[in-house]
């Protein structure tokens, strides 16, 4: 599962819809095994569109769960249509984080209800037991 996908996933349990704590899920750092997929090419235009969709607070929070506390608190902005060299450096870093970083095995927990979801072979499993469905 790509790091980016952590920004799209909340708890499946219906009662957690109304809670502010169900997003993002909490990633148990020591149980998460990460992998870098360097085969995915860098495309700044594509990435800009991705960044538009991203909830930055959740990016910062999940990165911290996974042991990276170096992200800025504010979402980077790219004001000029012509991207500067610094912009490109930031975008490359975000490409590595959001697109190339893959959680191969891992555990994620809802901060509201405490339900645990697992990631196996890079695929998250969001199915629920009958009493929560």
């Amino acid at each position: 599962m790509k790091f980016l996908t952590t920004n799209f996933l909340t708890c499946s349990v219906k009662e957690c819809d109304r809670s502010n704590n169900s997003f993002p899920l909490h990633y148990k750092g020591e149980a998460c095994q990460l992998e870098q997929d360097e085969g995915i090419e860098f495309n700044p235009e594509f990435l800009l569109r991705v960044i538009d969709r991203v909830e930055w607070d959740a990016v910062v929070s999940v990165a911290k769960d996974l042991g990276n506390s170096t992200l800025p608190q504010q979402k980077p902005v790219f004001e000029n249509e012509e991207l500067s060299e610094e912009d490109m450096i930031v975008l490359r870093d975000l490409h590595v984080l959001l697109i190339q970083t893959n959680i191969v095995e891992g555990e994620m927990t809802c901060r509201n209800c405490g339900h645990i979801y697992y990631i196996k072979n890079s695929i998250p499993n969001l199915l629920l037991p009958p009493h929560l469905a």
């Binding site: 697109i99 645990i116 695929i123 199915l127």
Partner: protein
């Protein structure tokens, strides 16, 4: 003022062809002047468009056409064609514009061929009045001029031998089909596929009618082996899939959905596949899904199931079962039970979900199977916020399937709805397994 163009289409999937052309025109803001000339029985359509740019935008992604040309002339025979080309009001301007560039001639035909009887060199010579001074270049010429011969087939199996109409034009844009999309995505050459994989041609057409856009998010809630994800990725969307059956989306060894994207050189487009019950959805509510495109399960090759216990009494209290001091349902290897669900209910859920997650004017497109032989009217699911834009039928022997395409118009639309009603009298599965008798 615009110009006249000649669109050369294919005579297959006619129920989808116009929907594809209209959807692409709408997507790229192409004003097509004369739809009234459109004829299902003909592969040719002469249209007025503003400029070449519009013609290119319109046809570049198209799957059910061959190419679009700047129209120079037509005739029932070559002498009439030459007369018509030279009588074209734009003839002098066209001649001047392409006088010095490099060029080549190409030949195409429909409904038959001259079987080698046409002397192509002599035919090209007969256009000498064009007075082109540029070099003939077979590779990467500045312009390609095309002669298209239309034959009347003698019958379904025998091609015609004498052309009934000949067109001449300057190539503006070859379609995605002519540029090899069908070969590229041919299922035979796909690393990971299964019994539910959807063929390349109609999956690409579906993505066109659904108006999948580059840089947008496309979601397939019944991803299976990822056929529609591949189609959406081809058109540049960031694609996300889910399926309640984890085995399907996982693949086997090196045969995975991810491997398919890698083979196509489109790894960037593939976001992820999730093991998830679409009706218990984990995608955060404020994430806009620009397009939803899918082929829901209809109980033949895959059963229709959602999370929950078929017999809730049997599962009462099971949430308290512990293994090694941990709740069993929280363990890594826990497999939740599933219960059967009806296709009607699933489609109601799908429409409701689409109305909540699509942006205004975003499209939901999905396939629905129908048994042909019943005298029962097929009821198409409807939602108050969704306009049913297209209902394209693909006929098989005893059944058919439809591509239903909806546009999200928002709460103000207030259209008819039939959610919650039992639409189907018998299930498609039962009809299928009784041989439609």
């Amino acid at each position: 003022m615009g110009k006249t163009y000649l669109l050369f289409m294919v005579q297959v999937h006619l129920n989808f062809r116009r929907a594809e052309l209209e959807s692409l025109a709408d997507l790229f803001g192409v004003e097509v002047g004369n739809w009234d000339q459109y004829d299902e029985n003909s592969p040719f359509l002469k249209v007025e468009l503003a400029n070449d740019e519009q013609a290119r935008a319109w046809i570049r992604r198209s799957v059910l056409t061959r190419a679009i040309y700047e129209f120079w002339g037509e005739g029932e025979c070559y002498s009439k064609l030459h007369e018509n080309v030279q009588g074209n009001v734009s003839f002098d301007a066209y001649k001047l514009a392409y006088r010095n560039g490099s060029f080549k001639f190409e030949f195409d035909s429909f409904g038959g061929s001259s079987s080698g009887k046409l002397d192509r060199v002599a035919c090209i010579e007969s256009f000498r009045y064009l007075d082109f001074q540029g070099k003939i270049r077979l590779r990467n010429p500045d312009q390609v001029f095309t002669v298209i011969e239309e034959y009347e087939p003698i019958n379904d199996n025998v091609a015609g031998e004498v052309p009934k109409r000949i067109f001449f034009g300057r190539l503006i844009q070859e379609s995605d089909r002519l540029r090899g999309a069908l070969e590229k995505y041919d299922l035979k050459k796909r690393p990971y596929k299964g019994t539910t994989s959807f063929e390349a041609e109609l999956s690409l057409v579906s993505a066109n009618i659904a108006q999948v856009q580059p840089g947008s998010i496309m979601y397939d809630p019944f991803a299976g082996t990822g056929s529609f994800l591949v189609a959406g990725g081809h058109f540049g969307a960031m694609v996300l899939g889910s399926d309640i059956d984890g085995r399907m989306i996982r693949g086997k060894g090196s045969q995975t959905i991810k491997a398919n994207f890698k083979k196509y050189g489109e790894s960037l487009q593939f976001l992820d596949v999730l093991t998830m019950d679409f009706t218990h959805n984990s995608l955060r509510k404020n994430l806009t899904l620009d397009t939803i495109l899918c082929d829901p399960p209809y109980g033949i090759r895959e059963s229709i199931k959602v999370l929950g216990a078929r017999d809730p009494e049997r599962f009462a209290g099971k949430e308290n079962v512990e293994i090694d001091g941990q709740k069993a349902y929280l363990s890594r290897d826990y497999i939740p039970t599933k219960r059967p669900y009806s296709l009607d209910a699933l489609l109601d859920d799908l429409l409701q979900f689409a109305s909540e997650r699509l942006p205004l004017n975003g499209r939901l497109a999905f396939w629905m199977p129908v048994a042909n032989d019943e005298n029962i009217q097929t009821v198409i699911p409807l939602h108050a916020n969704l306009e049913l834009k297209y209902n394209c039928v693909q006929e098989f022997n005893k059944w058919s399937r439809r591509l239903l395409v909806y546009v999200n118009r928002g709460p103000a639309y207030n259209g008819p709805t039939n959610a919650g009603h039992e639409r189907s009298q018998t299930t498609f599965r039962d009809r299928y397994f009784s041989g439609f008798n």
